[in-house]
């Protein structure tokens, strides 16, 4: 577990110490730590829905140095272990007035269609 300076005390109190090792988020950080490991032909999974391109690039580089292979996972294995996950919000959707939303729904959809047409993509 890599945490920044705000949680160094909290993580010691909240995590089982025999199960987790705690490292600094900046130095070495997750990518720096991974690059120094020897993980030849081991598979490291990641969820493509919750990772940014920048992080993915760094992760790929670090995994390459470690000799590991990245695998995009679907579903996320965290979901299986997340037994007490809160339910998804079931509140009724209410449209906001234009003075709060800033842009109307039709305008957004028109903008989206224009972008899709420009990129010649097909909607999912």
């Amino acid at each position: 577990m890599f945490v920044d300076g705000r949680y160094t005390l909290q993580v010691k109190h909240q995590l089982a110490p025999k199960l987790f090792e705690v490292g600094d988020f900046i130095d070495p950080g997750p990518f720096g730590w991974l690059a120094k490991q020897t993980l030849k032909d081991q598979k490291i999974g990641y969820d493509p829905r919750i990772i940014s391109p920048d992080s993915l690039e760094k992760l790929t580089e670090a995994a390459k140095k470690a000799g590991a292979v990245l695998v995009a996972t679907d579903p996320n294995p965290i979901d299986a272990a997340w037994t007490d996950r809160p339910a998804e919000p079931a509140v009724q959707v209410a449209p906001h007035d234009i003075k709060y939303a800033g842009e109307s729904s039709s305008s957004k959809r028109a903008r989206l269609g224009k972008a899709l047409a420009t990129r010649r993509s097909t909607p999912a």
Binding site: M1, F2, V3, D4, Y7, L9, Q10, V11, H13, Q14, L15, A16, L19, F20, F25, G29, P30, W33, L34, L39, Q42, K43, I44, G45, Y46, D47, P48, R49, I50, I51, S52, P53, D54, S55, L56, L59, T60, A68, V69, L70, V71, A72, T73, D74, N76, P77, I78, D79, A80, A81, W82, T83, E88, A124
Partner: protein
């Protein structure tokens, strides 16, 4: 003549206290008492205010007077006719004697006050000084200068200084219950600056003595200034009763503290505030404004105006004059009432409140997060033939702003086996830190 417009809205419970104060300061305020002076006839001896509904002995805290609730049994000076009070051996109090007692002490103490006044670097407005409480000369303009009105500020007639942990802490409540005057215990320089500013804006300080634990020279100077400012405007003999929070709903609360304590103190500050009262919060950083505003919005306090200065915000919040039970029609803005009654100068300790934090940590100390979920995660990883899984850090920008390089729609995997469906968007599972889990 300055009209006592606020008297009518004073609660009946504190009416006697307020009138005693107003009467004692009549010459200072420029208030004329009685109709005889207006008409230019020979001035008659001053009377107790007509709205003083109880016997003076009861108003001064003496209980069980037979005339306490019977106006017919009182004489023109507010005392009961049957002499119950005099039978008890109390000195007969008259308006003249009351004024005499309220006047500053003479002799040595008076001279010391004068010398102190001359040597003080921050001189407050002269008309509030006790040594200048002479009656104005005949023909002089009795209108009291009020510079705050010219600057668009509401007129603060009275202002009380109290201490903060004061306003909320058990210590303050205990001291109030014990009838000890509250004391301003910390951060006196900041309090002093605000107090001086309030006085310059036309506020009238009424306060208990101020004690500062720090013995540095600047603190001593500030304490001297503050004590003088408090003493000069506190002729009320029953000082601690006037400042008692249970007897007064304050109209103005100034708070020059950090944002987090302000958020925590919101319910307590709202309790101290009267209907239509105001809270002025100074020194907030611009990004802290929404959370403070939200905390006070839950306490029926709405933002009246804010002033931004170099990234700092001074929001001015106003209490709704409606009670919680009143229904406010949608779209209608609750009107704000003018400030004219009293104020509470609130200053809390800058010491971080570690109690809450420690309790928070203690509650999690034995939780051993991961002891149950980690075996499940490892079993899943084994089923998916994974040796490790990367759980990214939470959003840097707390989902409020995502630069283009962080846009997740581009996060399609570069690996040879991409997931088939990416169209159904689910909220990202967030984690407060980054973890790389290995299958052991």
């Amino acid at each position: 003549m300055m009209a006592p417009a606020a008297w009518s809205s004073f609660s009946r419970r504190s009416a006697s206290l307020f009138f005693a104060f107003s009467f004692a300061n009549a010459d200072r305020f420029g208030v004329e008492i009685g109709a005889e002076r207006k008409s230019g006839r020979q001035p008659s001896p001053p009377r107790w205010p007509a709205r003083l509904s109880r016997c003076r002995c009861r108003a001064r805290g003496r209980a069980s007077c037979v005339a306490a609730r019977a106006p017919a049994l009182r004489d023109s000076r507010g005392w009961c006719r049957d002499g119950q009070c005099r039978k008890r051996g109390q000195p007969r109090s008259t308006p003249e004697s009351f004024l005499r007692r309220s006047a500053p002490a003479r002799g040595r103490r008076r001279r010391r006050t004068d010398r102190h006044e001359r040597g003080s670097p921050a001189r407050l407005s002269g008309d509030t000084s006790p040594c200048r409480r002479r009656r104005p000369r005949a023909g002089a303009d009795r209108r009291r200068k009020d510079s705050g009105v010219d600057r668009g500020w509401p007129r603060f007639r009275q202002l009380a200084i109290t201490a903060p942990p004061a306003a909320v802490s058990k210590r303050w409540r205990t001291s109030c219950n014990a009838r000890r005057p509250p004391a301003c215990s910390t951060s006196a320089p900041a309090s002093g600056v605000l107090a001086i500013a309030a006085v310059k804006a036309g506020a009238r300080l009424r306060s208990a003595p101020i004690s500062t634990p720090n013995r540095s020279a600047s603190r001593r100077r500030m304490r001297r200034t503050m004590t003088r400012a408090a003493a000069e405007a506190a002729p009320c003999r029953r000082r601690q009763s006037c400042d008692h929070p249970r007897r007064r709903a304050y109209d103005l609360i100034l708070a020059n503290i950090l944002a987090r304590p302000l958020v925590r103190l919101a319910p307590d500050i709202a309790k101290l505030l009267g209907t239509g009262g105001r809270v002025i919060l100074s020194g907030l950083l611009a990004h802290q404004e929404p959370q403070v505003k939200a905390a006070y919005a839950g306490q029926r306090l709405q933002l009246v105006r804010r002033r931004r200065l170099n990234g700092l915000v001074n929001p001015d919040l106003c209490a709704s004059p409606y009670r919680p039970s009143d229904k406010i029609s949608s779209g209608a803005q609750p009107p704000t009432l003018p400030l004219s009654l009293s104020g509470c100068f609130l200053q809390v300790s800058l010491k971080p409140d570690s109690t809450h934090h420690e309790a928070d940590i203690r509650s999690h100390r034995r939780s051993n997060v991961g002891r149950a979920s980690l075996p499940l995660l490892r079993a899943t990883m084994k089923a998916m033939e994974l040796d490790g899984v990367y759980v990214p850090h939470d959003d840097e920008y707390q989902n409020e702003y995502l630069p283009a390089c962080y846009e997740r729609s581009h996060g399609r995997p570069a690996s040879p086996d991409p997931p088939e469906r990416l169209s159904s968007f689910r909220s990202p599972r967030s984690c407060s830190s980054t973890a790389v889990t290995r299958c052991r």
